[in-house]
């Protein structure tokens, strides 16, 4: 009889230890075998974004025995995440996603190494973090991050397992996989060379998403990753698969590398660091952003309307100043209720408030001073904790 020894699991699988029993149901597959398990245990996978896609991907990769897992996410758990981000519980609201995900995965499989990066990827930290891994999984929720991660993987020759969702549909692909023949690998910019302009594509908060859909797509990303590592089956290399959750239709498109793509990807680490991905992806919304200090100054002047655009129930609730709540989902219809000449919008991380600021600008133009709190209220509360009662 074998018993689990939770914190002493040997990395090298032997038939007589607990890890062998843990993985037995997959090692008995002849295509997978003990050799496949050894490959997983010696692999290093970085999951960027521990959200709707990242959670299921992480869960299956950790369960399958990927030996080294990195989790990058600077966000905290919100109540609106819980319908799809299945690694978190209601008690995790307000805490770091990367840390809570690590905690949850360490309980699932104590025999693997997990590193939580509680930081936002920038052009300065992306290359060093990605360098330490064999495969990158993109589970982010915005074009700026997606283009930055793609370009970093091109620069570092790292395979990128891409997944994205919108409403009821999802996309999965493997980019930047160097085959043995030495063909130029396909990357995301071979499909969409440049990020969409403002208004060309709905963002997630605007479009909504069925909770189970990123579950399916994130799980497919985990599956493609396991296939890449073990060499089993036919991975989605040089093709993109779309899945429709409403009618179960699957459609696969072939991709090929294009010479023009080289015009868009930075050729050196220095050129990469000089890229401004946020600007590329949101042509003119940065003009609204103010930092915590400027926000405090406007608070003291006292004549600004401050609006929380998070959905009802999202925490933490700031104290120490007056504000109204207009959730982003209702913002457009209630926009005329904004009366003051100076308006400051905030949300959790500063992304949704940028959208609200843009809408305010579209409605009122230069007749109002419109500001969005950079980094969101969570960041502000952290830096101003002394002022809280």
């Amino acid at each position: 009889m074998l018993y689990y020894r939770p914190f002493q699991v040997d990395k090298i699988m032997k038939p007589d230890n607990a890890s062998y029993e843990r993985y037995q149901r997959q090692t008995i597959l002849k295509e997978f075998g003990e050799a496949g398990q050894q490959k997983l245990l010696h692999s290093k996978v970085l999951v960027i974004g521990a959200g709707g896609l990242g959670c299921p991907a992480l869960q299956y990769l950790a369960a399958a025995g990927i030996g080294n897992i990195g989790i990058v996410d600077d966000d905290i758990v919100s109540i609106t995440d819980l319908h799809r981000q299945v690694l978190y519980s209601t008690f995790d609201i307000g805490f770091s996603k990367a840390e809570k995900a690590k905690h949850s995965l360490a309980r699932l499989n104590p025999g693997i190494d997990i590193i939580a990066y509680k930081e936002r990827l920038t052009t300065f930290n992306t290359l060093p973090i990605i360098s330490a891994y064999d495969i990158v999984i993109d589970g982010t929720d915005n074009f700026a991050s997606r283009y930055m991660i793609n370009d970093a993987c091109v620069l570092l020759n790292k395979p990128l397992v891409y997944g994205a969702v919108s409403q009821f549909e999802g996309q999965v692909a493997i980019f930047n996989y160097q085959n043995k023949k030495g063909d130029t690998p396909v990357n995301y910019r071979d499909l969409f060379p440049e990020p969409p302009r403002e208004g060309e594509v709905l963002n997630c908060a605007e479009a909504g998403v069925l909770g189970v859909l990123p579950g399916i797509i994130g799980t497919m990303q985990a599956n493609e990753t396991i296939k890449l590592i073990t060499g089993m089956g036919k991975a989605l290399i040089n093709s993109i698969l779309t899945y429709n959750a409403l009618n179960n239709r699957v459609y696969e498109l072939s991709l090929s590398a294009r010479k023009e793509t080289l015009l868009f990807t930075p050729a050196t680490a220095f050129a990469f660091q000089q890229m401004d991905y946020d600007w590329l992806c949101s042509s003119n919304n940065r003009k609204f952003e103010i930092n915590g200090e400027a926000f405090n100054h406007l608070l003291n002047t006292g004549n600004a309307d401050i609006i929380d655009v998070r959905e009802t129930g999202e925490l933490p609730l700031p104290t120490g100043f007056n504000y109204t709540q207009i959730p982003l989902s209702e913002f457009k219809e209630k926009i005329t209720s904004v009366k003051s000449e100076t308006v400051i919008v905030f949300c959790q991380s500063g992304k949704r408030s940028l959208q609200a600021a843009q809408w305010l600008f579209d409605e009122f133009g230069e007749s109002k001073k419109i500001f969005s709190l950079q980094g969101g209220i969570f960041n502000w509360l952290k830096n101003n904790s002394m002022q809280q009662p």
Partner: protein, 77 residues
Amino acid sequence: MKVNIILFGQLTDIAGTDNFTLENVADTDGLVAKLHKSYPPLINSKYVIAVDKNIISTNTLLTNNCTVALLPPFSGG
């Protein structure tokens, strides 16, 4: 000549359907012009075109009963 059109993502909201057929279109440029006329919001939408499951980047001749897919970028996660 009949061409099958498949739409994805928010493009289905614009057209009100995810698949339909068009007659008398010779190439992808002609097809796009026709679609823009029928569904003006497509003009301001971003998508790639695939003919019989291969992504194309230049004007491409269409054949009878071929399938043209319009795929927009998704960013959600």
